[in-house]
């Protein structure tokens, strides 16, 4: 590390690393230099001229956003000349700005408003006509209002640099310059809405949010996206019990500002008209509404009856429910119902990876590692489509740290564009492809290997052996599908494993076996849709389903209990890289209850509440922290909305792993399993229809 550079900013002594920009150095001593076009992590523009400062011996004002610190430099950020420059820049900027703050989505959280409030003149001397162009709709989710655009080019940069899409550009020149989408009048892109969030003003507006509310009328609830396994923090704007907006406006969480279309717009399933709001019971072959007390009593009665005669229960858990719910469900199933027939849809071979890594600490990558480690190898996964945030991290790593990216996939992927080497393989040829990169990878100083569901069972062991043979530190990510796919495994929602990857040493049926079984008496499905693509052999089995919608599985149920979505409850989820984060309650749906409560109420009605303990998420999480290996995470991090890395077992897992059961659903950017079908926004974009 080179010696720090010493300089003075507004009389304060500052030490900053060589190459630091004055605008960032000022922040070190609490001085905020106003800026529009400067955006940390994106390329420099020096376009807006808001950040002009006085530098001793410089003949004119200099842009702090492109000025590197120099030894002995004396900077002044609040002189009359600087103040005047800012005032004029804002006056210039407002000449063609519509100032329609009263109806602008951004009003109240607009950087231009704030800037004019702080640095602007009280009045304008502009008395000419303003330029006007009509607002344009670029896609169902992205609208552009040219007159409001201040041409800071943040949107253009986030789309090309951050997303690797490059769907936005600039057309015309001078005062009539505009931002334009890649297809002239419409967008064909990821529809992530990153451009909207990064826009400092109300020029880019969101299809779900525009003209619906004023920002201060909403509660802002920072929770975790319930779609894919990446675990992005999303801040829900909730008004009158309804989610109106999803974004990550404080850039907190593991994902910073990143959200894909699902995290930003895919919340609308919560108030889909088909949302279940009352329990349903089968009466004369038809499902009819029933009260909670009647429905729960009926479930309790049936469960007690079957339990009493040691009948066979099958329990299918979810990849979206919380750790607490999963833990509680398996505890209830195993200790109260006395069954080990418990399973869920598995999408990645985490079990074999943990077993193969046993004895090597620090080999599980976090999402931060993908941004920080010097090299990344992607095996058999289309990250940009299936694991959007992980892909974003890798792109950012490439941009900011020149990370070397290696790709071994069947088809072209977006990561090819930043890859140091790409190997195209036939289906099943992934490992051979990986081996062909051995010499190149040996020249790296460290590596993260990210692999999809084509690497499972023995292939995982071979991959780890390969990693060990490189002679460098290697970390791994076994990709899984959904928001708590990883947590379902960690919490023992499989017959062979108890929570914390402890062998259950008990036989138990898998999902497939339960559906195939003719003697199953009760099938209890909590937040899963196994009958979407399979039939159930036990014709007479009593089926209880906890669901948000009348899915294929719910339609077969005898009793359907309406469940709250992840956005309507608390609890924790564990993302693909094993980071636990806490959900917060945003809206609520009348009639629906969190799965944890539903399970607890069934236990209560069975008179067995004491055996499972209280159905309070915090209490269950305490038990998890105390008993589940790897989950003794610091509570302070979790409570503060942070992500804590779990460290599941560091020893062999003596069970037969079931690679045959591992299949990714291969959701793309615009799908999200059954849940995705109930999001109007996801269904509305044309890219989703083509895919």
């Amino acid at each position: 590390m080179a010696a720090p550079v010493k300089l003075t900013i507004d009389g304060k002594a500052v030490e900053a690393a060589p190459g630091t920009l004055v605008i960032d150095a000022a922040k070190l001593v609490g001085i905020n230099i106003p800026s529009f076009c400067y955006y940390e992590g994106l390329t420099l523009q020096a376009a807006c001229r808001m950040c002009l400062v006085e530098v001793e011996k410089a003949p004119k004002l200099l842009a702090a956003c492109t000025l590197p610190v120099a030894e002995g430099m004396v900077v002044r950020t609040e002189t009359p000349v600087v103040a005047e420059a800012r005032k004029y820049t804002l006056e210039f900027l407002l000449t063609n700005h519509p100032l329609d703050c009263p109806v602008c989505d951004k009003g109240g959280e607009c950087e231009l408003q704030d800037m004019v409030f702080r640095y602007g003149a009280g009045e304008s001397r502009y008395s000419e006509n303003k330029l006007h162009v009509d607002e344009k709709q670029w896609s169902p989710v992205v609208f552009y209002d040219g007159p409001r655009c201040i041409l800071c080019f943040r949107c253009v940069r986030i789309c090309s640099e951050g997303m690797g899409v490059g769907a936005l550009g600039i057309v015309n020149r001078g005062a009539v310059s505009e931002i334009a989408p890649n297809h002239g009048d419409h967008l064909e892109c990821d529809e992530c809405g990153m451009c909207i969030d990064i826009c400092p003003v109300g020029a880019l507006t969101s299809g779900t949010y525009r003209y619906k509310t004023r920002p201060w009328e909403m509660d802002h609830v920072g929770t975790i996206c319930t779609h894919c396994s990446n675990g992005c923090k999303t801040t829900l704007g909730v008004r009158n019990g309804q989610i109106i907006r999803g974004n990550n406006r404080d850039r907190s969480g593991i994902n910073g500002e990143f959200l894909c279309i699902k995290g930003r717009y895919g919340f609308d399933f919560t108030d889909h008209p088909e949302r279940l709001q009352s329990p349903l019971m089968r009466v004369n072959g038809k499902l009819e509404a029933a009260s909670w007390s009647v429905a729960l009593a009926a479930v309790a009665k049936k469960f007690s009856e079957v339990r009493a005669r040691h009948g066979s229960f099958g329990v299918i858990g979810s990849t979206h429910t919380t750790n607490e719910e999963n833990y509680y469900l398996q505890k209830f199933a195993r200790s109260v119902l006395g069954t080990n027939h418990i399973d869920h849809h598995r999408s990645g071979d985490v079990v074999t990876l943990l077993d193969a890594l046993s004895g090597t600490a620090g080999s599980l990558s976090t999402t931060a590692d993908l941004y920080e480690r010097k090299a990344v190898l992607v095996v058999g996964a289309d990250l940009s489509s299936q694991q959007p945030f992980l892909a974003f991290q890798i792109r950012a790593n490439y941009r900011h740290h020149q990370a070397r990216v290696y790709v071994v996939t069947e088809n072209e992927v977006r990561e090819d564009g930043i890859a140091a080497a790409t190997v195209r393989v036939d289906k099943g040829g992934e490992l051979a492809g990986v081996h062909s990169l051995a010499e190149k990878l040996k020249t790296e100083s460290e590596l993260v290997i990210v692999f999809g569901d084509s690497i499972k069972g023995e292939a995982v062991r071979e991959l780890v052996a390969f990693g060990n043979s490189l002679g460098i530190p290697v970390k791994y990510v076994a990709l899984v599908d959904y928001s708590n796919s990883r947590g379902a495994l960690d919490m023992g929602l499989v017959p062979e494993l108890l929570p914390g990857y402890q062998p259950s040493n008990q036989p138990g049926m898998t999902v497939g076996e339960m559906l195939e079984s003719e003697s199953l008496e009760v099938l209890w499905v909590v937040g899963a849709n196994p009958l979407e693509s399979a039939a159930m052999k036990a014709k007479d089995a009593f089926v209880v389903v906890q669901e948000m919608f009348l899915t294929e599985t719910a339609q077969r149920a005898d009793i359907v209990l309406p469940a709250a979505s992840a956005y309507e409850k608390t609890g924790t989820v564990t993302n693909v890289t094993g980071e636990v984060q806490r959900l917060k309650t945003g809206p609520s749906t009348m009639g629906a209850k969190p799965d944890l409560e539903i399970i607890g109420l069934i236990a209560r009605d069975m008179g067995l509440a004491a055996a499972v303990g209280p159905w309070i998420a915090d209490k269950v999480f305490e038990e998890i922290r105390a008993t589940v290996k790897g989950y003794s995470v610091p509570m302070a991090i979790i409570s503060a909305g942070g992500a804590a890395h779990t460290m599941p077992v560091n020893g062999r897992i003596p069970v037969e792993s079931r690679p045959d059961l591992i299949h990714s659903s291969r959701d793309n950017l615009f799908t999200s399993g059954t849940l995705g079908r109930y999001s109007k926004m996801l269904g509305s974009v044309m890219e989703g229809r083509q895919a």
């Binding site: 492109t66 015309n172 001078g174």
Partner: protein
């Protein structure tokens, strides 16, 4: 083709072949000392070439007047990257029309200049970025390039040496801003023509991320003469600190407008009276623009004793610029001139930075309204104030180029602005003049 008669006051160095039969052909070029400077340079060390250019006191002819030898010496010799030569033939500064003549009449002189520059930094490829509207020049240039390849002045192993060099033409993108060196490089690379953040300067990071010598056509065209006759001889033609001659484009209310090659330091009055043939219809001089529309305007009084060179013009707070002289007679409406100039800059602002993008558009509207007779006294202050607050605050010098003349117009011709107040129509419009005359009677 020539557009005006030569003047006896001219010192013909760069234009010496103008008017010869077939002057653009390599045959004519070779008959008149063509490529002898290149031959000479081939035998010199790079440092010696640069030294010769330094001695010549050649300063950039594109507008900024930066010493050319010094610029060439900034190219890092140890860089492992390829080096490039880029010719700025985007000539778009209003009042400037000399580069086109140099290409039209003597394209080989430009090629030879590029070759000399290439030798001085070990470059092997050069691009001539030609203003889009000069489409016909591309044919002329391409033909000359083809001839040079045929005769072994371009291509591999030139004149039996190990040196090789390729030259290409590239069409401009139809924007004034693409003449600004870093925007030109962006455009050359196929991107939108907006300027780059500097430093680094093109000499270090230029075309395709590589060290690049970027000069104006006229600058390169001076190189063969400097190498052929020696830097000292070239320097001696001009004044201290500014050697050689300057192609001066005389336009405006003159009897003999045209492009004339005059030694640096030529007296302004003599230039107007004798080279330009005096002001049309015996009118009096009102205003004088020495070097293209971005230079602050000078009054007739300021022209007294003034000479056409960098330092003398800097002393009166103007610039030699690109050599685009505009002479305005007593009947010229300065408000209209200010409007015309601002229309140009508002049209040409690339839109990258706020003060230029919005400032030029505001000033254009304001000046239009003002000239139409709807101005207020406070507007006069506002015009100067807006321009002053663009000056030095924009991302590239185009903003300054719009601000500087504007400030000079209001400061030096305030009375003309006042004459447009109180709903009075422009006193210089012929129709209005007649009306005023009738009213006075």
């Amino acid at each position: 083709m020539l557009y005006n008669e030569p003047s006896p006051h001219e010192v013909k160095v760069l234009t010496r072949r103008f008017g010869l039969a077939d002057s653009a052909s390599i045959k004519t070029y070779l008959k008149t000392d063509g490529y002898v400077a290149f031959e000479k340079a081939l035998k010199m060390k790079p440092e010696e070439i640069i030294e010769e250019v330094k001695v010549s006191n050649l300063r950039g002819r594109g507008g900024a007047g930066f010493p050319t030898g010094l610029k060439w010496s900034f190219v890092p010799k140890t860089s492992p990257k390829p080096k490039y030569i880029v010719v700025n033939a985007d000539e778009s500064e209003p009042g400037t029309c000399k580069d086109r003549l140099l290409i039209e009449n003597d394209p080989h002189q430009l090629i030879e200049g590029m070759l000399i520059a290439a030798l001085s930094v070990d470059a092997h490829a050069g691009y001539i970025y030609i203003r889009g509207e000069y489409r016909y020049l591309i044919d002329i240039m391409d033909k000359a390039i083809a001839e040079a390849y045929e005769h072994g002045y371009l291509g591999r192993n030139l004149l039996g040496s190990a040196f090789h060099f390729d030259a290409f033409t590239h069409t401009g993108a139809g924007a004034y801003e693409c003449g600004e060196e870093s925007a030109l490089l962006e455009s050359l690379e196929g991107k939108r023509g907006v300027p780059r953040i500097r430093p680094p300067f093109p000499a270090v990071v230029g075309a395709f991320q590589s060290p690049t010598i970027l000069n104006n056509v006229e600058t390169f065209c001076a190189a063969p003469a400097i190498l052929r006759d020696g830097g000292a001889a070239f320097a001696a033609l001009g004044v201290p600190k500014a050697g050689g001659t300057k192609l001066t484009c005389l336009s405006g209310h003159l009897n003999k407008p045209g492009v004339y090659e005059l030694p640096l330091g030529f007296p302004v009055k003599k230039m107007i009276e004798e080279v330009g043939g005096g002001i049309r219809n015996g009118k009096k001089l009102k205003a004088f623009v020495p070097g293209g529309s971005s230079c602050p305007v000078l009054t007739a009084a300021e022209c007294e004793g003034l000479t056409m060179d960098y330092d003398a013009l800097a002393k009166v707070k103007s610039m030699l610029g690109s050599g685009g002289v505009v002479v305005m007679d007593e009947d010229t409406c300065i408000v209209k001139v200010a409007l015309r100039v601002m229309r140009f800059y508002a049209h040409e602002s690339c839109g990258w930075c706020i003060p230029c993008r919005e400032g030029t558009a505001w000033l254009r509207k304001l000046l239009q309204r003002f000239h139409d007779g709807h101005g207020q006294r406070s507007d006069i202050v506002l015009i100067g104030d807006l321009a002053k607050n663009m000056l030095g605050r924009t991302f590239c010098p185009l903003g300054d180029a719009a601000a500087m003349p504007t400030i000079s117009f209001v400061e030096k011709f305030r009375d003309e602005f006042e004459a447009h107040l109180d709903g009075r129509p422009c006193p210089y419009e012929p129709a209005n003049r007649l009306a005023a005359h009738l009213v006075a009677q």
